[in-house]
Symmetry: C2
Subunit: 157 residues, 2 copies
């Protein structure tokens, strides 16, 4: 019973990430350089941003060390077009796939107890007063963050 | 234990809907008529679309009858600017709030069994081969759908 709840939650993540995967796969290097709308972020920037955010999920969910901390300066700390892209389009696409695979594979093995454990960015004190600041909350939040940017990416021709 | 999983899931919905609520509240009638980007859907259309999609969740999740079926033709069946808006901005904002309140209040009372029951748009046969086609899957999917359009709405000035 519990297991089916967890399977449904991971299936939702798979669906969201899978749809975006499909979209990114279809975009060539030139298309990735286009903005999602006039004067807005490039598709390339959003791919970098999502990869960096998902990479940070690895330590947050207690899965492991980060794989691509080199993305933070260009895609988390600074706005688009201020820092040179540290990876080529094919390298970035590979990083995106690699990070998501690491997350999906780890969370498929999570028990209910694992999901309800505190994430590493919340203090013991804050967690004891608010137990919904758990790994599941981070995971649902990040799934919705992916959907947020997928909606923007869908606007690009 | 189970309860905390469900509380976390409903909190994620509340967060996503709450952020969009805040955004819509700040927009006046004139701003709602603007497109999210050149030649794209109006904010008004997306508010209508999200209200119609959430309204359809009421029967899908077995919560109750639809409250605003009058929105379908303008915001589900047809693209933007082809059908006259059936409600004024203030009426539509009220419908959005009303529909979300009905959903939130009902799902807060859902047990794990309720969440894992089939939704009404899937056949008994399909559900028996794929038990992840449950109410929880619909709820997570719709939460992500809201985030998808929130990302687009965030682009509008």
């Amino acid at each position: 019973m519990d297991e089916l709840v967890m399977t449904t939650i991971v299936a939702s993540w798979r669906l969201v990430v899978g749809r975006l995967d499909e979209r990114f796969t279809q975009l060539d290097d030139e298309q990735l350089q286009k903005p999602i709308a006039p004067n807005k972020n490039r598709l390339f920037y959003l791919l970098g941003h999502l990869t960096a955010v998902h990479d940070r999920m690895l330590p947050m969910l207690g899965i492991g060390e980060r794989l691509h901390p080199e993305l933070d300066e260009a895609y988390l700390t600074n706005p688009d077009r201020t820092i040179a892209d540290p990876l080529s389009a094919s390298e970035l696409k590979r990083a995106w796939t690699e990070v998501n695979a690491a997350i999906t594979s780890a969370v498929e093995g999570f028990s209910v107890d694992d999901w309800l454990r505190k994430h590493t960015a919340v203090s013991d004190e804050d967690f004891s007063t608010n137990p919904t600041r758990n790994r599941l909350a981070v995971f649902l939040n990040r799934t919705n963050h992916t959907s947020f940017h997928t909606g923007q990416i869908a606007l690009a021709k």
